[in-house]
């Protein structure tokens, strides 16, 4: 019915998805970054919060203590609200992949799309069992209800696994051949599952999920404790998330080291940008703070040989410099450096806090009493989100100027449509409103009166 073209198809498609002249590439990237920065903290709650809720419900079944039931029910309301917001922000992300980067999707959608298909199914199962779990309180047998929570925990993991596998592929693309400007010989299974360059990211992100959700939840009750809200209920609600975050945060240091070495091996220019190392150096130093200009880090505290030691576990190892590639192939150094140092600095602080809490607990068998401890836990939640976002900026801006590493430049992927600034401004306003709405609903849920007596009466 629709008149067919008479040129060979490959020619039509290749011409139709040529790089375009987009004046607002930076705004498009920022719009995408804004959407990720909004979504990723919610993902952390999707990854880690269900496990905490199910654990508390399990404690109720084990001990019969109605306090745990009250806590699990109240947390599951928070879980439902955050999941609903996570669903819509995630939907926007999948729209934006096409709205902002149509050439990327048109060229490589068939290479990595399989992972998103599996993620879609995983997300589907998550949505189904969230519905069963949230609405099943009091309608299912206690055991069936607990069991309905398990798939939420598992699919939270598999979903993030699939998405991070795509990110790993973007950083280390395999499973296809470029021939005459055409992507041919596509093998999705090879590109994704046989590509080992995502495990470090997945483990790093999964731990980050537990750190963010754990510290953030604990920090709410720490602020409450400082204002005198400190009964058995609040203590329980602080100890469970804090313990899991405290265990995850020192582990994250070891995993972070693994990430650094993997990046050094596979993306040496990204590593050079983390430090601002312009020339290839043996026994490369690391600068704490400072500013990168004209190929040098100024005003930083220099620690000799540290970069070589961290990247290769050898203080005299040779580290590749930024100038081994042309200027146009280098990422923006200061953004990457600053984000990296923020992540490492905050992460180290959180690990110290975690170790302090664990040691205090093992030695004293009680929570620390110092006001400073509760102030630190109160700050740890927001700081964990800062570290999370700084980490993502490090890896994503460090990947620039490539959207598919060494294969497709970000500027060649962007849409030819006009009006990106309008879309960006609109989305920023809407997300500002969304942030306000989330804060509002969480405060409302937190202020609902505790119903301990009622559940105690029911549970006899």
């Amino acid at each position: 019915m629709i008149a067919a073209g008479h040129l060979p198809l490959a020619t039509i498609v290749a011409q139709a998805f040529q790089p375009v002249d987009q004046n607002y590439l930076l705004q498009a990237r920022q719009m995408q970054a804004l959407s990720f920065a909004t979504h990723i903290p919610l993902v952390c709650f999707g990854i880690a919060f269900p496990a905490m809720v199910v654990f508390v419900e399990w404690l109720h079944l084990r001990t019969g203590d109605p306090l745990y039931r009250t806590l699990a029910r109240r947390w599951s309301k928070v879980m439902a609200a955050l999941f609903a917001v996570g669903v819509v922000t995630g939907t926007i992300l999948s729209f934006e992949l096409g709205l902002l980067w149509p050439n990327f999707m048109a060229t490589f959608g068939d290479v990595f799309g399989l992972a998103f298909a599996i993620e879609g199914i995983s997300f589907f199962l998550e949505a189904i069992f969230i519905g069963v779990y949230i609405y099943g309180w009091g309608h299912l047998s206690p055991r069936a209800h607990l069991l309905s929570g398990i798939p939420i925990v598992i699919t939270g993991f598999t979903g993030s696994w699939m998405v991070i596998m795509v990110n790993g592929w973007m950083n280390h693309p395999t499973g296809f051949t470029v021939r005459g400007g055409q992507v041919v010989d596509v093998h999705p299974f090879h590109a994704l599952f046989e590509n080992s360059y995502f495990w470090h990211e997945l483990v790093h992100m999964y731990l980050a999920g537990y750190m963010v959700a754990g510290f953030m939840t604990a920090s709410v009750y720490a602020w409450g404790a400082l204002r005198g809200r400190w009964g058995r209920y609040e203590r329980t609600a602080l100890v469970i998330p804090l313990t899991i975050a405290a265990l995850a945060s020192p582990v994250q240091v070891v995993v972070g080291d693994w990430n650094g070495r993997t990046v050094a091996d596979n993306q040496p220019i990204k590593l050079a940008a983390l430090e601002g190392l312009s020339k290839t150096t043996k026994g490369a130093p690391e600068h704490i703070l400072g500013w990168y200009t004209n190929g040098e880090v100024e005003y930083g505290i220099k620690i000799p040989n540290l970069l070589s030691l961290l990247a290769y576990h050898d203080p005299n190892a040779e580290v590749q410099g930024l100038d081994t590639v042309p200027k146009r192939d280098q990422p923006p150094v200061n953004v990457v450096r600053f984000s990296f140092q923020t992540m490492v600095g905050v992460g180290t602080g959180l690990a110290l806090l975690g170790v302090f809490y664990l040691v205090a607990w093992l030695r004293l068998r009680r929570l620390p009493r110092s006001r400073w401890f509760y102030l630190a836990v109160g700050a740890a939640g927001p700081l964990a989100i800062v570290a999370l976002i700084a980490g993502w900026i490090t890896t994503e801006v460090g990947r620039q100027p490539w959207i598919v590493y060494h294969v497709m430049r970000t500027e060649d992927a962007v849409t030819g449509a006009s009006g990106i600034p309008v879309g960006y401004a609109t989305l920023a306003l809407v997300y500002l409103g969304l942030l306000g709405a989330v804060v509002w609903i969480l405060r409302r849920l937190a202020r609902a009166p505790l119903d301990l007596e009622e559940s105690a009466r029911v549970a006899g």
């Binding site: 019915m1 629709i2 067919a4 073209g5 198809l9 498609v13 011409q15 139709a16 654990f55 404690l59 019969g64 439902a80 609200a81 917001v85 669903v87 819509v88 939907t91 999948s94 729209f95 992949l97 096409g98 709205l99 149509p102 999707m105 048109a106 060229t107 490589f108 068939d110 799309g113 199914i121 997300f123 589907f124 949505a127 189904i128 519905g131 069963v132 609405y135 309608h139 206690p142 041919v184 999705p188 495990w199 009964g231 203590r235 313990t243 899991i244 265990l247 070891v254 693994w258 576990h313 607990w361 093992l362 009493r369 030819g416 449509a417 609109t426 809407v430 969304l434 709405a437 609903i441």
Partner: protein, 409 residues
């Protein structure tokens, strides 16, 4: 049917499911829009809100499913549609954000005024989103989306006569579906006044949706001749007749207050028209681009189809479980049982092997992670570290919680 067409079938199934289930959710938002402080008006809004509850999230995953299959199996089609129709899709996206947020907020509202604000945002976005998505479909169906990166007109690709009619049909049929489904739900919980209210609404919206569909015919004839030709001949025509017959049957069933079978026939009416669109456009996805030409390589198609088939083994029983629980009224408010008293098992000795095990896992994991270069040994190390976190958590959190005797901050 070729291998290249299989993902298209999956997309159409996803679209039909989204149009029926997601559509009913949009319609439920539509019916929360009218205000009114009377008890009846409030009861109608409450019912429309609560009926969506357990299935709300799942119903909207169908859209993600459609997008994902499209960009995997027909990447150039996805790139072309998303770039040319970016304005319509962005508006739909904004509507989706507003709806999701309003839905999450409603449980926190305390006063009637707060609730009305939330309901109005929800209602307006429940009209905006299906309209924008319908308009995007109209752009594709009327051949206004050429292959390529934003090669079509950013405005007229979705603001045109065909898009306007399909957007209107989407809104009207969503409201119609919702009224039928809400009447059925009201009947299940035995609320006669609500049954009557939604029966009336279903009958009115049924006529409105039918009238809009008839009104669309001359518009499509004038504006999108190829799709008109496809819909008025062969298999396309058969699908249109099937849809019309199912729509009429639904009206008769609603008139007779037989809502459960009406659920099914209403779904058939919506699905048939989506099938009709596909049949009318066959074999083209976009102007000059057939399904076979647009499809990804064999390896991608096969892994995608196998992946979805394996996923369906988990997905279908899970969906069946959810809808079974909902439709049998297991989640209805009246069915809540008091929390069963859980007998506490006898206390166990607190000393356990967990702490030493956790310490061992930490050491083994850190060594594997730190001193080995093989990616696989590193991954095994990561697993040991996870085991450390899990065992450490169980070892520490339970006694910590149980012995919360200090009460000073």
């Amino acid at each position: 049917m070729s291998l290249a067409e299989v993902p298209l079938i999956l997309i159409l199934v996803g679209l039909a499911a989204y149009a029926v289930l997601g559509g009913a959710d949009f319609g439920a938002g539509f019916w929360q829009l009218p205000g009114g402080g009377s008890d009846d008006a409030r009861a109608i809004r409450e019912h429309a809100h609560h009926a969506m509850g357990p299935v709300w999230e799942a119903n909207h995953v169908w859209l993600i499913f459609v997008l994902v299959v499209c960009w995997t199996a027909y990447p150039t089609v996805f790139g072309s549609i998303a770039s040319t129709l970016c304005v319509a899709l962005f508006i739909a996206g904004l509507g989706i954000i507003l709806r999701g947020t309003a839905y999450a907020l409603r449980s926190g509202t305390r006063t009637m005024r707060e609730q009305r604000i939330v309901e109005e945002v929800f209602g307006v976005s429940s009209i905006l989103t299906p309209f924008a998505l319908g308009a995007a479909v109209g752009g594709i169906a009327s051949g206004r989306v050429p292959v390529g990166n934003a090669q079509g007109d950013l405005i007229t690709s979705w603001l045109n006569p065909t898009s306007a009619m399909i957007g209107a049909i989407a809104v009207a049929s969503a409201a119609y579906l919702a009224a039928v489904y809400l009447a059925a739900d009201a009947k299940r919980v035995g609320k006669t006044r609500l049954v009557q209210a939604f029966r009336t609404r279903a009958l009115i919206m049924g006529f409105v949706a039918g009238a809009v569909a008839l009104g669309a015919l001359p518009v499509i004839h004038a504006d999108a001749r190829p799709i008109w030709d496809g819909l008025t001949s062969g298999a396309g025509l058969a699908a249109v007749f099937a849809s019309a017959a199912a729509g009429l049957t639904t009206l008769i069933l609603v008139w007779q207050s037989r809502f459960e079978p009406a659920r099914a026939t209403a779904a058939v009416a919506v699905s048939a028209i989506i099938a009709g669109w596909a049949l009318a456009q066959r074999p083209y996805l976009l102007p000059g681009l057939t399904v076979d030409e647009a499809a990804a390589g064999r390896s991608t198609l096969i892994t995608l189809i196998v992946g979805i088939a394996l996923g369906a083994l988990l997905l279908v029983p899970s969906l069946a479980l959810l809808f079974d629980l909902v439709l049998k009224g297991r989640f209805d408010a009246e069915a809540e049982e008091p929390a069963a008293a859980v007998a506490a098992p006898p206390p166990r000795p607190q000393r356990s092997l967990l702490l030493p095990v956790a310490g061992g896992c930490a050491v083994v994991g850190a060594v594997l992670m730190f001193f080995f270069d093989s990616a696989w040994l590193n991954v095994v190390g990561a697993l040991f570290l996870f085991a450390f976190i899990a065992t450490g958590f169980v070892a520490l959190a339970r006694p910590a919680v149980a012995s919360g005797t200090d009460d000073q901050a």
